[in-house]
């Protein structure tokens, strides 16, 4: 009986495989016929890494809403921070004959791996916000000029530091919360920070680097240790705004979470431009933040993928850059509503 059952099951599996193989030709036929038979209706896959920060949530919503408004079917996946799973998910959406793929990659190296898969399948791919670590393969990379935006934000912080130095004559102790260094954005933000700091080295003690891995729990543990070891920290830059609540939980008990101009105030800035940062700037707790224009980046990604599909380009290769800007206490009145986080708050 067991042998008969095994044989039967093996035959069923083999039959399935043959059906699958036989379907290959049909599959190839379908990929061209889908767009023609359905009068140009398109399917685009959006493969996200996670949706744990305001920036990713806003980006996800902007992309999905815009595509759906245009009558485009969106297939979504979320790898929850697992690079291997993201690769599997991209392979899965490729089997669904999507017309294009937009990926928010786990990191720059994963962007290279998923680009390779899309190129092999001749499907145009957009890498959103986290650029690939190598120029291997062809993709449309939508990215903010992170180094320049970070530098602009820290430049303002340095101006404030100089005022403090002139007043007290004491050097400031700077701290940077560094992102995952597998992510080129984190590296660029760190470079932007140092570029600004090094313009006025006479103002600062040695920089303290706190690794965060883009993870709130890791950031909390490392920041607590760093602040205990260096209680005189008075200049803090976070590579992402989503860490401000974490910073608050560390600084508040020490009496350092206070407004600009008050005793014990830490000069602070971040990068992203989310609603929390907008609120903190309005309250006068932080000096400023570098703003990535999430709506502009979503538009660049969507127009990029749709242009490639329309032109029949399967391996478009270009970089579309969001210039970004810094919103600070200095330019708050003029630029306040240019920041996506503030737009979200108003909504």
């Amino acid at each position: 009986m067991k042998k008969r059952v095994s044989l039967l099951l093996a035959l069923v599996m083999l039959a399935t495989m043959f059906v699958g193989c036989a379907d290959k030709k049909g599959e190839e036929g379908t990929s061209t016929s889908t767009s023609s038979s359905e009068g140009g209706s398109k399917t685009i896959a959006l493969c996200t890494e996670d949706l744990e920060t305001e920036f990713w949530v806003a980006a996800h919503k902007a992309i999905v809403d815009t595509l759906e408004e245009q009558g485009i079917k969106v297939i979504e996946t979320n790898c929850q921070g697992d690079a291997n799973k993201q690769l599997e998910q991209v392979k899965d959406v490729i089997t669904q004959n999507v017309d294009g793929i937009i990926v928010i990659p786990k990191d720059g190296d994963t962007a290279v791996a998923v680009t390779k898969e899309a190129n092999n399948a001749d499907i145009p791919i957009v890498i959103f916000n986290r650029p690939p670590t190598s120029d291997e393969g062809a993709n449309i990379t939508v990215v903010c000029d992170n180094a320049t935006v970070a530098e602009a934000c820290v430049d303002y912080m340095v101006e404030e530091a100089e005022k403090k130095f002139d007043k007290t004559g004491e050097k400031l102790t700077p701290l940077i919360m560094v992102g995952d260094l597998g992510d080129p954005n984190a590296i660029a933000r760190k470079e932007g920070f140092y570029a600004a700091i090094e313009k006025k080295p006479e103002l600062f003690n040695k920089v303290i680097e706190v690794p965060t891995e883009w993870d709130a729990a890791t950031a909390l543990a490392n920041l607590q240790s760093a602040v205990q070891a260096n209680p005189d920290v008075d200049f803090l830059f976070t590579s992402s705004d989503f860490l401000f609540p974490t910073i608050q939980s560390v600084l508040e008990p020490l009496g350092k979470w206070v407004k600009v101009g008050e005793e014990g105030h830490v000069i602070m800035g971040g990068l992203d431009g989310d609603a929390t940062a907008g609120e903190l700037i309005d309250e006068g707790i932080i000096e400023g933040t570098g703003v990535q224009d999430v709506y502009n980046e979503a538009d660049l990604a969507i127009s990029g993928i749709l242009d490639a599909i329309e032109a029949g380009e399967t391996q478009p290769d270009e970089i579309r850059e969001d210039p970004g800007f810094a919103l600070t206490q200095g330019n708050l009145k003029e630029k306040r509503m240019d920041m996506w986080g503030n737009i979200l708050r108003e909504q």
Binding site: K2, V5, S6, L9, V12, M13, T16, M17, V19, G20, C21, D23, K24, E27, I75, E76, T77, N78, C79, Q80, G81, D82, A83, N84, K85, L87, E88, Q89, K91, D92, I94, T95, Q96, N97, D107, D109, T110, V112, A113, K116, T133, S134, D180, L181, G182, P211, E213
Partner: protein
């Protein structure tokens, strides 16, 4: 009274008997998988496309080999939580050995710089034997870590959960420390081919995993060592009294688990084309879940390589179809959790039913 019960069983309708037989069959999960597969076709026709089936299989091989290793430990009534970190640490070390280049700007600050890795790559960079030697080193390291776990469990009777949890935490941090959280790129083409290309129509990864699976099956089904493993998991005290070298058996099972995790790491790293310290960090539920769905018991003494294959097949199929249905990630996780719970529940029911039937048959036939 027993004779009467036995008579009742004999008089059951054939259809009911067939269902009962299928339910109690060791092929139950495979049958369920195939029924599920067929039922899904009308709703997601793409499931039978060649590209999807190839995806399905390429996702199956690494998980299968890791779950086979876990099966050995589960057979003892233990668990190996460190497998996920063995994947990360072996991925980093193996790829560091074979990588052709390292960017000094990124890697200069890592503890590996200067003595193991340089601008021109790892110590095996450019060598024809770099890929097999690196994979061999990965397997050795995995085995040694497994032996370390096994030593503490066997020698000091420490709870496997605690020992392997500590090893997991240590190794994850160690892997991140080694590269300071950077991924290792610049791997030889032949290594990527190991994870993505085929020999004829059989993927290299499949050949690698099938060889290990056959070896594992041979050990469990044909060798005395296999009988010792089952006996140790069933009743350790009775096994010791019967002369089974339970300590050596425990050492072997944990070493096998580490070896298989390293084998899975080689495939995952090759597929991704990089070494990652956090590779495999989130797949513990998939590994244990697949083994349990296959029918391997968490309390030890029950399980087979074939069952694990069925469990992994079902698990991979389930995940694949949930993706094809475009369900949200939290729905997918909820479904996965429920399926594992259902599998564990079914296992209890089947075990009870089989025990009852064997009692009835034993008394009445």
């Amino acid at each position: 009274m027993s004779a009467l019960k036995s008579e009742t069983y004999r008089q059951k309708k054939p259809a009911k008997q067939v269902i009962q037989r299928i339910f109690l069959s060791e092929y139950f999960i495979l049958i369920m998988s195939l029924i599920y597969f067929v039922c899904v076709i009308p709703f997601a026709p793409r499931i039978i496309s060649q590209s999807n089936l190839l995806n399905l299989l390429s996702n199956l091989w690494p998980l299968l080999v890791i779950a086979i290793g876990q099966t050995f430990v589960l057979l003892l009534g233990g668990i190996d939580l460190s497998q996920v970190s063995i994947i990360g640490v072996t991925s980093v070390i193996g790829t560091a050995l074979m990588s052709n280049s390292f960017d000094p700007a990124i890697f200069e600050g890592t503890p590996l710089w200067g003595w193991l890795i340089h601008e021109n790559g790892g110590p095996l960079a450019g060598s024809a034997a770099s890929v097999p030697v690196s994979i061999f080193v990965m397997l050795i390291i995995g085995t040694l870590i497994g032996l370390f776990n096994g030593f503490f469990v066997a020698r000091f009777k420490m709870p496997p959960f605690m020992v392997t949890l500590v090893t997991q935490m240590f190794l994850l941090s160690f892997a991140i420390y080694l590269t300071q959280s950077r991924n290792i790129m610049g791997l030889p083409e032949s290594f990527s081919a190991f994870g993505t290309k085929s020999l004829g129509f059989i993927p290299y990864a499949a050949i690698f995993v099938v060889l290990i699976a056959l070896g594992a099956h041979f050990i469990l089904a044909k060798m005395v060592l296999g009988k010792w493993i089952y006996a140790s998991g069933e009743n350790e005290v009775a096994s010791v009294v019967s002369g089974v070298p339970t300590k050596k058996v425990t050492l072997f099972c944990y070493a096998m688990s580490g070896f298989c995790a390293a084998a899975g790491s080689a495939i995952y790293s090759a597929r991704l084309g990089m070494g990652r310290p956090t590779l495999g960090e989130d797949i513990m539920m998939d590994i244990v879940g697949a083994a349990i769905i296959g029918g391997t018991s968490l309390s030890g003494g029950k399980g087979k390589v074939m069952w694990t294959l069925f469990g992994v097949f079902f698990f991979t199929l389930l995940f694949n179809t949930l993706n094809l249905f475009n369900l949200s990630y939290f729905t997918i996780n909820i479904v996965k959790g429920l399926v594992i719970l259902a599998a564990a529940f079914l296992d209890v029911i089947r075990t009870k039913l089989m025990t009852r039937m064997s009692i009835v048959n034993g008394a009445g036939v």
